[in-house]
């Protein structure tokens, strides 16, 4: 098997370009493209939802790093905030799918979109793992002697979320470079 290399990028983007063209020619995509209000509305809901997820992630991470004045324990924060993160993520998925069907070429041709998807998968897996670990062993996470992984989780998820927002905004600025 060939090792993945940067040289393969153009070939991969060629494939994703074909998917994009197929999707752009479907009836549903055609309808969404003709309704000028759909994309801005969907993007606005997308931004409102990412705000909820991002704010929760920042508050939990700063708590784990010992940088916040929260009177709540880690397990209390997780119990309160993580369900709201999952709800907002569901809205993000829905609006993201709408935007992708409406503008498939814009999304699929730029590698920035695929980096974003990769980072989302990573941060999702991390968050689910973290929330479960806290629920299983709340007592240990609520003491000062938290697992060593706590600080690494906090830093990694912060970086991933900032990266995701950067990529999200940069899809719109890079896609025309790949046409």
């Amino acid at each position: 098997m060939r090792k993945f290399s940067v040289d393969m990028m153009p070939a991969m983007l060629h494939v994703t370009h074909r998917w994009a063209n197929w999707l752009a020619n479907t009836g549903l995509s055609g309808w969404l493209q003709n309704e000028a209000w759909v994309v801005p509305t969907s993007q606005s809901i997308h931004i409102a939802s990412v705000s909820v997820v991002f704010c929760c992630a920042v508050m939990i991470s700063l708590r784990l790093l010992g940088l916040s004045a929260s009177g709540r324990s880690v397990s209390q924060l997780v119990d309160t905030l993580v369900p709201w993160m999952y709800r907002a993520l569901a809205v993000l998925l829905l609006t993201g799918v709408v935007q992708t069907i409406a503008e498939p070429v814009r999304q699929f041709v730029t590698p920035v979109f695929w980096w974003k998807m990769l980072m989302i998968l990573c941060v999702l897996a991390l968050t689910v793992w973290f929330a479960r670990a806290v629920r299983r062993n709340a007592a240990q996470w609520d003491t000062a002697a938290r697992p060593v992984g706590a600080k690494w989780f906090a830093l990694t998820s912060l970086c991933l979320w900032v990266g995701i927002i950067f990529c999200g905004r940069f899809i719109g600025y890079t896609w025309e470079l790949y046409l």
């Binding site: 801005p40 509305t41 993007q43 606005s44 931004i47 409102a48 990412v50 705000s51 909820v52 997820v53 991002f54 704010c55 929760c56 920042v58 508050m59 916040s68 004045a69 929260s70 009177g71 709540r72 209390q76 309160t80 709201w84 900032v162 927002i165 950067f166 999200g168 905004r169 940069f170 600025y173």
Partner: protein
């Protein structure tokens, strides 16, 4: 009304030229814009957290005043960053944004959200001790929370629409 001459003068400052990419860095605008998105995400996220508590939907096990002390530093810190990044974006095309309807509506929403906050803090919130722990705060507080969410959603909508109309 700010005269158009002033807005045009602002657009000719070196900082505004840099923001338009005329001094080389064509990625400056998208980078500042992304920092603006990150700031507004913290502003909106933290405000909604507080508002949902006031409406009686979320964080009901936290006292309102405690949650307020925990959340408001994030709101104000992020709001400061949003003002700085927002000003940088604005000066790049000051006269275009200033006369843009969506831009004006965004600021109207923010102004009304500010008035709503002020009324709430000078009114119902002064007696917060009486209803601090209640899962369902008094109707004036719930109304303030609902209004705040609506107005800030308006800020996000009109903000996003600026990009489609300028």
């Amino acid at each position: 009304m700010i005269p158009a001459d002033f807005l045009l003068a602002v657009e000719h400052t070196p900082l505004a030229m840099a923001m338009r990419g005329e001094l080389g860095g064509e990625w400056l605008f998208p980078i500042v814009e992304t920092l603006h998105v990150i700031s507004l995400a913290m502003v909106f996220g933290s405000i909604v957290m507080m508002d949902l508590r006031l409406v009686g939907v979320a964080s009901r096990n936290s006292a309102v005043s405690k949650l307020s002390h925990e959340v408001l530093p994030y709101t104000w810190g992020a709001f400061l960053c949003a003002i700085v990044t927002g000003t940088l974006l604005f000066i790049s095309k000051a006269h275009v944004y200033f006369f843009n309807l969506q831009f004006q509506l965004k600021f109207l929403c923010m102004f009304l959200a500010g008035v709503n906050m002020l009324v709430f803090h000078l009114g119902t919130y002064r007696h917060v001790r009486e209803w601090d722990e209640r899962h369902r705060p008094p109707s004036a507080a719930r109304l303030a929370g609902a209004l705040s969410i609506t107005l800030w959603v308006g800020v996000i909508f009109f903000g996003r629409w600026i990009g489609f109309t300028t």
